[in-house]
Structure formats: structure tokens, C-alpha cells
Amino acid sequence: MAVEDYLRMEKLPHIWCPGCGHGIVMGAITRAIEKNGWDKNKVVVVSGIGCSSRAPGYMDFDTLHTLHGRAIPFAAGVKMANPELHVIVITGDGDGAAIGGNHLIHACRRNVGLNIVLLNNSIYGMTSGQYSPLTPEGALATTSPYGNIDPAFDLCNLAMGSGANFVARGTAYHIHKLIDYISQGFENPGFSFIEAISQCPTNFGRRNKQRTGLEMMKWQRDNSVDFKKAQTMSAEELKGKFITGIFCDREDKEYTEKYRQLVEQFQEGSN
């Protein structure tokens, strides 16, 4: 059982608010690990700061809690030092796309074999609701009292364009699909990026006419469009919707593997 085997039961109950989607996504990650049959002792989970980054506190693996926005460089250090490990990064839209955005694109570009799950709740939850680079235009936040005027990133397109091997987007609502995306992404040896749409009723929903977690999950259900179906729809039809599914699953050579080959040259040369 993924839950009992992979969680620090003594740390529960968690601190997430009632209705928060983050626990659902954390559950999906543990189930994907179980599905992949990974040796628990070969898994390292890294996080930065934010509500999403609380997850590794509850996960019973070796976990590194780092600083805001820097989880990916830390994880790259772990992977470079020991490529045998399965390295998972749990991050959020503020942590991973704002302050950590530069690190994200460069890790994609290098195609380091990291497994990123970015919990997108469209807001800075922990600091009480400031707009993030994934807050929709027009949304209210503590720092956008007149409606947000910043356009949001499409992180899946960004990750794909930056060179990530595997890119997918799922939701807390479509839990089985999410587990499947995470599991497939984790199996890809290159850089895998999975955006999980999660809900923050406390600091996003409450201010934006979606008062409960349930309402927000219904919104996820009603506004997601499958990747394949989206290809047949016009920009007009896709307005206000978001695309879910696997965006790419490439087999470009992973970075630590390339580096191993580089080092091997010298070993052969010195013989």
C-alpha cells in the first residue's frame, strides 16, 4: 500500500487546509512510485518552499528541504553525485516558475534525469495569496486587488521548448490519469516535467468565486481538454480552457549518462 509504505504516518495529519488539492497530488506521487516498483531506498525527494513543498515532509524517503526556488539545482546536484538515484522534485507555481523559473528551463535544456512534479494552484498559498506567474489574468490576489494584469505562463509549452524529455499536465480531479502521467514521466530517463493542477480554496478560490475545494475540482473537470482533442479545436474554442495529457515523451540522451560517457573517454585514454 503506497500510503502506509511511503508516508511518515507519525507526521500526519498534514497541515494543508481542508479542500486543498496538494494531499491528492502527493498521494498520486506515492502511487506512481509504487506502480513503477521503485526501490524505496533509491528514491530522494527534494523540495523548495511553499505549500507544495511541504509534501516531502510527509514522505518516507530521504528528503532534502531546500530554499525557495532552488529545489531543481539541489536535485541536479543529487543526481550528478549519484545518477543511480531516482530524484523527484516537488515544487509549486511560485517556487518553480517565478523565483525558480530560470533553474527550471536550464535543467530542461540539459535534460538532467530529474522528475519534477509542479503543483499548480495559481497562487502563493503559504504567504497568504499573492499572484504567481500562473495566476490567470483578471484573478484577484492580495497583490492584485484590481485584478491580475500579468499573463500566465504555459509551463508545459515552456518545458517542451526548453528541451524536457517528458512533459504532461494532469489535475487533482483526474486522479487516475495523473498517477499514470507521473508514472510514465518517472520512467523516462531524461528530464520529466509533470504539471499537476491543484486547488487552493483558502487563498485562491475564496477570492475568486470558487469557495470550496469541491467547486474548484468541478472547475478542473469542466475546463480541461484532452491533448488530442485540443488539436482539433480552434483558439477561440480553447479560450479559458487548459490542456491535459502527455505533451511529449522523447528519448534524447539524459545528461548524467552523457557525462558518464565523457568521463569514460578519459578512462579508456589513460589505459
Binding site: L67, G94, T127, Q130, Y131, T142, T143, Y146
Partner: protein, 354 residues
Amino acid sequence: MTEKILMKGNEAIAEAGIRVGCRYFFGYPITPQNELPAYMSRRLPEVQGTFLQAESEVAAINMVYGAAGAGGRVMTSSSSPGISLKQEGISYLAGSELPCVIVNITRGGPGLGGIQPAQSDYFQATRGGGHGDYYTPVLAPQSVQEAVDLTMDAFDIADKYRNPVLVLGDGMIGQMMEPVEFKKEITPDQLPEKKWATNGAAGRKPNIINSLRLQPEKLEELNLKLQEKYMAMKKAEVRYETDNIEDAEYILVAFGTTARIVKSAADMAREVGMKVGIIRPITLFPFPEDVIAKASEKARFILTVEMSLGQMVEDVRLSAKGRCPVYFQGRTGGVVPKPGEILDNLKRLAGGGK
């Protein structure tokens, strides 16, 4: 014109900036200062100002550099880990002689630490903080009203010396609500023109703002010029408050929130017949050396109390120059010292205990 209103420290600091013509604010979320940017996001559009939440503290401080270079009164705020990120920018601001106000609502460290009040950024604040040979004036309020007054003055000091100025509060100052009045109302058009600003070179030679000096002699020249400013600050900007030091045998030194706690301890000590006085540095740089030096001539000892494990105490010792013992007492990590603890320590030290 002035009426008292009840305000949270963080919001009052923001309003104080607006009242002296600050029209630009660049920030990033971090507890316990979130009310400050939120307030600015609400208020600045009303006064034709600009609020932007940057993608990181590093971006925010560089936006500050830009707006300061363009001649505006500009502010940013953060808390300890975020202030660490801003240090590179602050060094460049000092090197390029750009005025701005930076607010640090300090929390406990090192690393991520916690979110409770602390004073453990004293070293970072008073020693420049980033790389290179520079200082920033540091103003340390002990109440919401003083935070308002000092924030207003911070903009004047910044413009006067063309240097960044730090307002050093802590979680307590930021979160507490107190009645405040705003004694000034200045709009940007009432401020003197900044002839050095890079705001379009119409009708004059283009201005250059930078901190690069590749020739050693030129860089030394810049540094000597900066030093002259710091010397001038030491002459003109030192601020402190004393309480009952005339007849005092024992002197307590504390700043910010801790000074309020120390005041309760001193009152309790006076009640049991101990002659205790207080020196409260208001500017931490420049540091009120002279008043401490003078007090050290006749005090039996000085006790420095801080919410850290001993940082300002080094400046107190440098000022006292060994003329009397200088002891330290502190709590850290967000733990606030209690007046009773300080009183007990005073009694113990006065009784000859070490």
C-alpha cells in the same frame, strides 16, 4: 492635518513611504512582511504610482535600481532570507550612488529559519551586507509610529547622500497594530530635481549610472568618495534615545522591539532600587558610539540585550573600549526575551555573578 489612525506596522510603513512621495515599489512574497506589498498594490495605483510583484527578490531589487536611476523615490521590502538575496543589488546601488529605501522585517535565521521576530540580521545590516567597501544607514524603529517617522526620514537621508537606506524592523513591528499619525504629506513634484538621473537626456548631456571602475586608481577614488559620505553620516545622522542615564550605575543597551522589553525591565529594576538607565540606538549605522563611550566612564557595567546571540554587543564593546564590563543577554530563533529574565540577570550581575 494629522489625525491618529490604528494601523499595522507593515501597512503604516507603506503609507509613510507614499506620504513622502514614494511612487514605486517592487516586492516579492515572504512572511512576515506580506501586508506591506499588498498595501502598496492597493494604494499606489490611486496615486499614479507603480507596484510590481517581481519573479524574485533579485529581480525586485534590480527594478529598484532602475527606478532609482530614473530619479523616482522607490522602496522594496522583504524579510531576512529575501534581504540576503537582495544584497548583490544593494551593493550595486551603493556603488552607483542610488537612493532607495529597503525595509527588512527581520525573522529568525540562519537559512530558512522561522517566521518569528529576530534581530539576527544586525551584522548584515550594519556592515554593508553585500560585497565591497560600503555602508547603508540603518534605522531601527521600536514602535509603529517610529517606523512611520523613520521611513519618512529614510527617503530624505537616501536622497541627501545618494545611498540606499535600510529600515530594520522585525516581525513584531511589522505585525503589531498601534495608533499612528502621518506628519508629512509630500508629492513627487515637490521634491528637488535629481540632475544625475537617467530619465531622458533632453537638453543636457547624457548621464551615466554605473559602479564599474576598471582602473584601480579610479575605483579607489570612488571608494574614497563613498567613505567621505559615510564619515558625513557619522557626523550628522547618529540618532539614539536615552532614559534615566544621568544617575545610572547600570546601563542597558537595546534597539527596536527589544528596547521596549528592556524598558519594562529597567522600570522593575528602579522599583527595587537599582539605578538602571537605557541607551537605545535608533541608527545602527551610524552607531551612537559617543553616548555609549561617555556612559561607560561611570557605569558599573553595560548589559546589551538583543534578539540574537550577540551582534550589536560588538559595537557596544568597541564604543566602551574596556572602560567598564559589557555583558550580553539574548534570545534567538524568534524567542522574545522577557523583562523578568532581564531583571534577574541584572541582579545577578550587580551581585558580582558572571
